[in-house]
């Protein structure tokens, strides 16, 4: 057999299911739940063991053992006293953990608004006053080592935001704003996907969080703000097409006339790790395929197919978007 090679892209690594994300936390919010999960698992196995032993004794035990299991006293002990003690202990633990995880937000954390859309995620980095300073989609960059507050909203139906290595999940409900804290203590890419059934391609609505060391994060964000895009002739033709073919009606690219708000913001699309909301790797080829016929890739999504565009136009558009880092 050939030696194992890494067949995973960065995005696949982020979304890998092994080790199970719930048991492989990357930060304190997920981490405390992992501890709870282990405690609960052990509790369940022990209690199941008690029940099975009782059942075994009831069926195959000696006369004395059976007499001990077969009385109202046993029912009181096993069915009332024992569970009440175990449950009370668990409840105290669970409630205190709930309280600490929902402790009031200080207010000086970095804030990001994430809006659930059918079937992608709108991302807006906010300043102290709650104004969007940078808009992106389907990907969130955070610094390691400090909590980030997410304002979770929805613009259509109910979605649920879940990146299990960073935190539990929280619903995005139209007309409401839910606050969630996440924190990564190590750099890395952490994936998740929508957890509340939202119709159609709900199954293909992924998300990635990229955690950078604080200095890398600051540098990256600064670079994004100051970057000037030099376009090759092909990409320049793509920019023209982007306006002419109607892309700009739904997509925004900061610093250009393209100002559509219906679809994902494409200002930084070239730097994303995935296309189609966490489902495809991002390269020239997948970009062409997505633009040309996204319906073949993610059936039911809101982007029409552009199979009428000739190949060189798709090439040019992809070149243009690839340059939008």
């Amino acid at each position: 057999m050939s030696p194992p090679i890494s067949t995973r892209s960065a995005i696949a690594d982020a979304l890998a299911g092994w080790p199970p994300p719930v048991f492989d936390p990357a930060g304190p919010y997920a981490g405390s739940i992992t501890t709870l999960a282990w405690v609960l698992l052990v509790m369940s196995v022990v209690v199941l063991g008690v029940v099975l032993v009782a059942l075994w004794l009831a069926l195959f035990g000696s006369k004395r053992q059976r007499a001990r299991v077969g009385g109202t006293k046993a029912v009181w002990t096993g069915g009332i006293i024992f569970p009440v003690i175990v449950l009370t202990l668990l409840l105290v633990y669970g409630l205190s953990l709930t309280r600490s995880l929902t402790a009031p937000i200080r207010g000086d954390e970095m804030r990001v608004r994430i809006t659930g859309e059918m079937w992608w995620w709108r991302v807006a980095y906010l300043d102290g006053e709650g104004r969007a300073t940078m808009v992106d989609a389907n990907e969130l960059h955070i610094p390691t080592g400090r909590p980030v507050v997410l304002e979770l909203e929805s613009s259509d139906v109910i979605h649920s935001f879940w990146v299990p290595r960073l935190s539990g999940k929280l619903d995005m409900i139209p007309g409401r704003r839910n606050l969630m804290r996440i924190q990564a203590d190590r750099p890395g890419v952490f994936g998740g996907q929508c957890a509340e059934y939202c119709g159609g391609p709900h199954a293909l609505m992924g998300f990635v969080v990229v955690a950078h060391r604080p200095q890398d994060f600051a540098a990256m964000m600064a670079a994004r703000r100051t970057r000037t895009v030099a376009l090759s002739p092909q990409a320049a033709r793509g920019a023209q097409l982007f306006a002419d073919a109607g892309c700009a009606a739904c997509h925004r690219i900061a610093g250009t006339p393209a100002n559509g708000l219906a679809g994902p913001d494409l200002t930084h699309v070239g730097s994303r790790r995935s296309l189609g909301a966490g489902i495809l790797p991002n390269n020239r080829g997948t970009m062409i395929g997505w633009i040309g016929d996204s319906q073949a890739i993610k059936p039911g999504n809101r982007m029409p197919r552009y199979t009428v565009l000739p190949g060189e136009d798709l090439q040019a558009l992809a070149a243009y978007l690839e340059a939008r880092k």
């Binding site: 050939s2 067949t7 020239r284 080829g285 040309g292 073949a296 199979t307 992809a318």
Partner: protein, 122 residues
């Protein structure tokens, strides 16, 4: 658990694909790894590729029966070395093609070619 990625496609291959054609013999390449690379870079977002269930893109031609074709992109001879170079950097071999360069290294492109040669006519 990661072995599943490698094993499962292998099993599928053994089960339903004819052996690679002699002309397309590629001793150093591994079709199973090629398929993994295809899935990793997303070739299927433009091409329907037998063995890759999703996506099945419609922008590029279907690659069904690729091993039986005489030409690549209608103009290049369908040989292992040409194909390996083509999947990696099509524009330099066939200027004007709609196929872009793909993020594959040399070894991976040979693997991809090997996989494509498992796609005989059925």
């Amino acid at each position: 658990m990661p072995t599943a990625h490698v094993l499962l496609p292998l099993l599928l291959l053994v089960a339903c694909k004819p052996p690679p054609d002699e002309r397309h013999h590629m001793p150093q390449a591994d079709a199973a790894r090629g398929k993994a690379a295809i899935e990793r870079v997303g070739c299927a977002s433009c091409h329907a590729i037998p063995g890759v269930r999703w996506p099945q893109g419609t922008i590029g031609p279907s690659l069904d029966g690729f091993a039986e074709r005489a030409l690549i992109a209608g103009r290049l001879p369908n040989r292992p070395d040409v194909l390996a170079a083509f999947v990696r950097d099509a524009p330099s071999l066939a200027p004007g093609t709609n196929m872009p360069a793909m993020p594959l290294n040399e070894e991976e492109s040979r693997d991809v070619a090997a996989y494509l040669y498992t796609l005989g006519d059925r």
